[in-house]
Symmetry: C2
Subunit: 333 residues, 2 copies
């Protein structure tokens, strides 16, 4: 019987992730106990949050410990089961880690309906980005028919789904992205109503032009000046769902003050930060809906599936931070 | 039959309010139509929001027009009624304006139970400050038993009630105020658990010392550096109810960036701006509860009732901005 192969965190990265931060190790094949099952991992999701998971210090989830298997969402097939609800051959997704085989008790595991989308899509667009967009827009942002929704980083894995869900729900979807290609992509291919090229347009004027009735929901991925400009055009009782503030993560300059912070008070905005783990009990519901929309052709996904196995994990992960991918990054095991 | 006397807005103030911004005028005694009643105004509430009401430009309520009666909450007695629900002699509070007599159709009028508190209290601590504190803490801030609540401008009309309601609800109440006297007042007289003197203490250290288990609810009246320091100690899923940002209103320096803005994301905070008008349909419920607490001795109010009639309105209003009052400012008509 073959062994398990795992990627462990060897040291905490300083700045960019390097190969030596991880090590590949052999372990005995794990055997499921009572009420458990074994998953043979097929696809691993690569997500920007991973950089935070390997950093020390207080954050929203405990950091991966040195010597522990690297945390990751993954999709695979049940291989051996002592769990009544999971049968051999079933496709599942969950936090299985960067390894060939994982043991699970079914907690926070979701079954992947491969008749709606192929397995890799369930850790691609339908995985973390899909559920992040779904709950962020509909629960945190409380988007309703007729609302104007503005999303930043709109051509990204999450932003591209936010705008498409907004359209499915009868909203006006406006995306902020950098450069004419990304802007054309979200309007022409994904069906956004309008795009703002923050690299080549005056933000405030472009927001005014594309949001003539103001903004009801801001799905914020970027923070900083982009968020500030959007705040200045929010409608009364608008909602701001803060999913990320990537403009602040790598900046070496001190942040500028938000000129429109007072909009929160004057317009009685609800500003709420969230992470996708907060909704883990409802992933199943969201994924079922997202899968259905995808199967109906209403939700387009773009995945960038890489070969190389788990040994390629550090290099493929870095593509996220160097902009080397176009579409949701997935590693094939 | 006597005439009505009214204070009208004569011109928009630039900087501080001056006497010439208002004029006193005589009008015919107003007569109630079908479904209306006339109120003889006895006490007028003076509130910081008034400076905003006389300013031009988009805000949360339309500005008072030049030549119009100055807007104000007031308390008085029904004098003549063609309205089935309001009888002569009943005590009422509502947006009756700075004048001797007002006509109302009962919309957003609340009856004042003078067996629980004297009439002036219903535009004093139990008026705008009371309902602002009530809804801001309990609905926007979602304060629950066991929470740590931090309120800024804690010795003020709203802040002093926020801390007392927090105590009634079984929370830990920490107030931020300027100077040892105000700090002693909120702890010794109002029963706050702790006070922070932002003028004489290191804010961050004092917050750490007084909030050993972090902060669940921030009732924010000040904004700026005080809010920033509080954000840095918020617990996961904490709430920030933004009632005011007075630190920004008169500042001539550009605002500093909030160093802890990312706390909204990492701690998944709900930050929500509100104004008391948003809850106008539920004033009655809040006032009944506040009056009961006051009658039971659980809620201490400090009112500063000034004589001089409506002619004194501009001078008395200015006390709010020069710090010339101690306690909720009320003008006796």
């Amino acid at each position: 019987m073959s062994n398990n192969r795992v990627v462990r965190l060897a040291s905490r990265p300083v700045g960019m992730v390097v190969r030596d931060n991880f090590e590949v190790a052999e372990e005995d094949m794990p055997e499921p106990g009572e009420g458990e099952f074994r998953v043979k991992v097929a696809y691993i999701s690569l997500d920007p949050a991973m950089r935070g998971w390997v950093a020390e210090g207080r954050s929203y989830v405990p950091p991966v410990q040195i010597g522990a298997t690297m945390r990751a969402f993954a999709a695979g097939y049940v291989e051996a089961s002592n769990h009544a609800d999971y049968k051999e051959g079933e496709a599942v997704i969950g936090l299985f880690g960067v390894q060939h085989y994982a043991i699970s008790d079914g907690n926070n595991v979701v079954k992947a309906n491969t008749s709606l989308a192929p397995l890799e899509a369930w850790v691609g667009g339908l995985g973390m980005p899909g559920v992040t967009a779904y709950f962020g827009l509909l629960e945190v942002g409380e988007a309703r028919e007729g609302d104007t929704v503005v999303v930043s980083a709109a051509s990204g894995a999450v932003g591209s789904i936010v705008g498409q869900i907004a359209k499915i729900k009868g909203c006006r979807a406006v995306g902020i992205a950098g450069g004419p290609e990304k802007c054309a992509y979200i309007v022409d291919e994904l069906g956004f109503d309008a795009a703002i090229d923050y690299k080549n347009e005056d933000l405030r004027e472009a927001i005014k032009r594309t949001c003539p009735d103001g903004i009801d929901v801001n799905f914020e991925n970027v923070g900083g000046e982009i968020m500030d400009a959007v705040l200045g055009r929010m409608n009364t009782f608008g909602r701001v769902a803060i999913c990320g503030m990537i403009s602040m993560y790598n900046s070496t300059e001190p942040p500028k003050a938000l000129a429109n912070l007072r909009s929160i008070l004057v317009n009685r905005l609800k500003v709420r930060g969230f992470i996708v783990f907060d909704f883990v009990e409802k992933y199943g519901e969201a994924l079922q809906t997202l899968g259905k929309w995808h199967a109906e052709g209403k939700l387009k996904l773009r995945q960038d599936v890489r070969d190389g196995g788990i040994e390629a994990f550090p290099d493929v992960l870095n593509l996220l931070y160097t902009g080397g991918n176009f579409g949701k990054l997935v590693l094939k095991v």
